[in-house]
């Protein structure tokens, strides 16, 4: 197995884990954590696509680095926004449990 394949398998594992968290957990903050795990998985997928072997050294493509940096920044913004919305939901209902919410059923 090449390094690229190991990384990609890891990223798929992370994505599946994150999706499982989002689907099974009933706690708002845990759902946000699941979302972040999916993001990490996708970042790892980008990294695995950017691996280049130059003179027996493993290097990462510049574009992949840029994309991952942007993706991390975006994920931070989304996590901040999601948590601030979660705080507002807590203010309304006094709970983080999505089963107590009126419309949050997908």
């Amino acid at each position: 197995m090449s390094l690229y394949e190991i990384y990609f398998a890891g990223s798929l594992l992370l994505i599946t884990t994150g999706l499982y968290i989002i689907a099974s957990k009933r706690h708002l903050v845990k759902i946000v954590i699941g979302l972040e795990v999916v993001t990490l998985g996708v970042n790892l997928a980008i990294a695995s696509m950017g691996i280049r072997i130059v003179d027996d050294m493993i290097v990462m493509d510049a574009l992949a680095q840029g994309m991952i940096a942007i993706s991390i920044a975006v994920a931070a913004a989304i996590a901040a926004l999601a948590l601030s919305i979660a705080i507002n939901i807590y203010k309304h209902y006094g709970t983080f449990d999505i089963r107590k919410l009126r419309r949050l059923r997908w």
Binding site: V42, I46, G50, D61, L63, I78, R102
Partner: protein
């Protein structure tokens, strides 16, 4: 004109509203931040229209050296066409917001004086987010590589999450905002995974480089990334299995934002799908036509049935947005099917795509108009129940008449241009009579259009002609404020103007289609 200028104008205005807000509050002129947004949108619109009239050739701006790793922006007829729609509706929403947001300030559940409430609501943030939302959408249409596309996509997405959850004192807005955030972010991540695979295949994200690799030959990885991109952008476009955020998110936002979200944000998803599927992957190789047709039929049929059962007027309009996305997707699917099965009939595929793109414009105008008129009713009656709004027509004649034009346009009543866009799709579907699939699709399409026309007209007669159910409930209702009426009347005039000027508009769309079909 450089594509970067437009983005700089809008982002600069967004920064200016935030920086200047303390000054505006000190001089007691909070309307000024709205005026800044209006000026920014107006200058963008004028620049784009001038460019379109001049018929400028497509341009590509590369930042840095010309290598496969640098990012770049493009400006062609398709991006100009969509950007004009986006900034035009943005301008209308900004004008409308100046008065409407004062209503939101008054209805804040706080006992503080007016100026404290203004600070609490954050009008500067509102206009800054509106500006960055439109910037993101225009940037998506101007991106020339998937990296830029993703950056602007997230700019648009994050702005729209914040705007949906903007009325944070209402349970509806925060819940809908959270749901929208989770679902739409998962969609963006699916698209990003697809983009990552394309990057692995092509070693670059520039559209021309990716196209050179995937357009001709299809392999498993390319097909998988196509599916990921279709699902990812399909979430924002609200195609039916991924639509469930929309009926919650659109009504929960402040009304001008509902107009933007329903009118144009979902069209950005349609553009991203159209561009990546038709331009990058190519329908002839991958054969996604039947899948798109199936999704389109499912989307419109489901949404039309769901729309009939709504009692809340904003939810009703939100469901009808999903149905209209179904029409557009079906048009695209018919074009893809024709391009794959009958490669000689490019003209017929162009006909279907012309209909789809014209419907993008028609739906943006009609839905923007309907949402903005609904906002006037909400301002006066403070209710969204259709039952309570029955018979409001004689009290607010100008608003209701404009709403009528918007609904007739959406219903596709001839001679309004909403009829012609649907007719173009139908005539493309009937173009090859021997093809059973296309015939069946066209018949379902026509049935859906008739059902939709029925419920739009039914809604309009309830609002305009029915006697009020609540006796005396609507006695003190007066016409909407002038500043809110102006964008509504402009949009109603635009609906009629486009019908009169259908030929130049169709020519414009045809030149935009040349970008995709070559």
């Amino acid at each position: 004109m450089e594509p970067l200028n437009i983005i700089l104008i809008l982002v600069g205005a967004a920064v200016a509203t935030v920086i200047l807000d303390p000054v505006f509050r000190k001089v007691r002129l909070i309307e000024l931040s709205g005026v800044i947004a209006c000026i920014a949108f107006l200058s963008t619109l004028v620049l784009l229209v001038l460019d379109a009239v001049a018929g400028a050739p497509p341009r590509i701006i590369i930042f840095g050296p010309d290598s496969p790793l640098t990012t770049s922006l493009k400006l062609d007829m398709l991006s100009i066409y969509l950007s004009i729609i986006f900034s035009g509706l943005g301008l209308m929403a900004a004008i409308y917001s100046i008065r409407y947001m004062l209503f939101e300030v008054e209805h804040l559940p706080l006992d503080d004086p007016f100026w404290v409430k203004v600070r609490e609501l954050g009008l500067d943030r509102y206009y800054a987010l509106l500006l960055t939302l439109i910037t993101g959408m225009i940037g998506v249409t101007m991106a020339n590589d998937f990296f830029t596309l993703y950056v602007f996509w997230e700019l648009m997405a994050i702005s729209s999450y914040s705007l949906v959850a903007f009325r944070k004192w209402s349970w509806e807005a925060v819940e809908a905002g959270f749901k929208y955030l989770i679902m739409s972010t998962l969609g963006s991540l699916a698209a990003l995974l697809g983009i990552a695979l394309l990057y692995g295949l092509a070693g670059s994200l520039r559209f021309d480089a990716v196209r050179a690799v995937v357009f001709g030959g299809g392999n498993m990885a390319a097909a998988f990334s196509l599916a990921m991109i279709m699902v990812g952008f399909g979430v924002t476009a609200a195609i039916v299995p991924f639509h469930s955020w929309l009926p919650d998110a659109h009504p929960a936002a402040p009304t001008p934002i509902s107009a933007i979200l329903s009118g144009v944000v979902i069209k950005t998803g349609v553009y991203a799908m159209l561009w990546s599927m038709f331009k990058i992957f190519g329908p002839a190789t991958y054969g996604f036509g039947p899948a798109l047709i199936g999704l389109g039929i499912l989307t419109m049929s489901f949404a039309n049935i769901a729309a009939i059962m709504q009692t809340d007027i904003k939810r009703f309009l939100a469901y009808s947005s999903i149905a209209n996305i179904g029409y557009i997707i079906t048009g695209m699917g018919l074009a893809a099917h024709i391009l794959r099965t009958y490669p000689s009939e490019v003209g017929l595929a162009a006909l279907a795509l012309t209909g789809a793109l014209l419907h993008v414009l028609n739906h943006a105008l009609g839905k923007g108009l309907s949402f903005l008129s609904t906002g006037c009713y909400i301002l006066r009656v403070n209710s969204r129940e259709i039952e309570r709004l029955e018979g409001i027509g004689p009290r607010m004649p100008a608003t209701t008449a404009s709403l009528g034009i918007g609904l007739l346009n959406l219903a596709g009543v001839p001679p309004l241009s909403g009829f012609w866009s649907k007719l173009l799709i139908v005539s493309a579907g009937l173009g090859i009579p021997s093809d059973g699939l296309m015939l069946a699709v066209t018949i379902i399409f026509i049935v859906n259009c008739i059902v939709a026309a029925g419920y739009y007209l039914w809604l309009f007669q309830r609002l305009a002609f029915k006697r009020p159910m609540l006796d005396g409930g609507l006695k003190e209702i007066s016409e909407a404020p002038a500043l809110m009426l102006v964008p509504i009347l402009i949009l109603a005039a635009a609906c009629i103007l486009i019908t009169i000027m259908l030929n130049p508009v169709l020519q414009f769309i045809r030149s935009a289609l040349e970008v995709i079909l070559g």
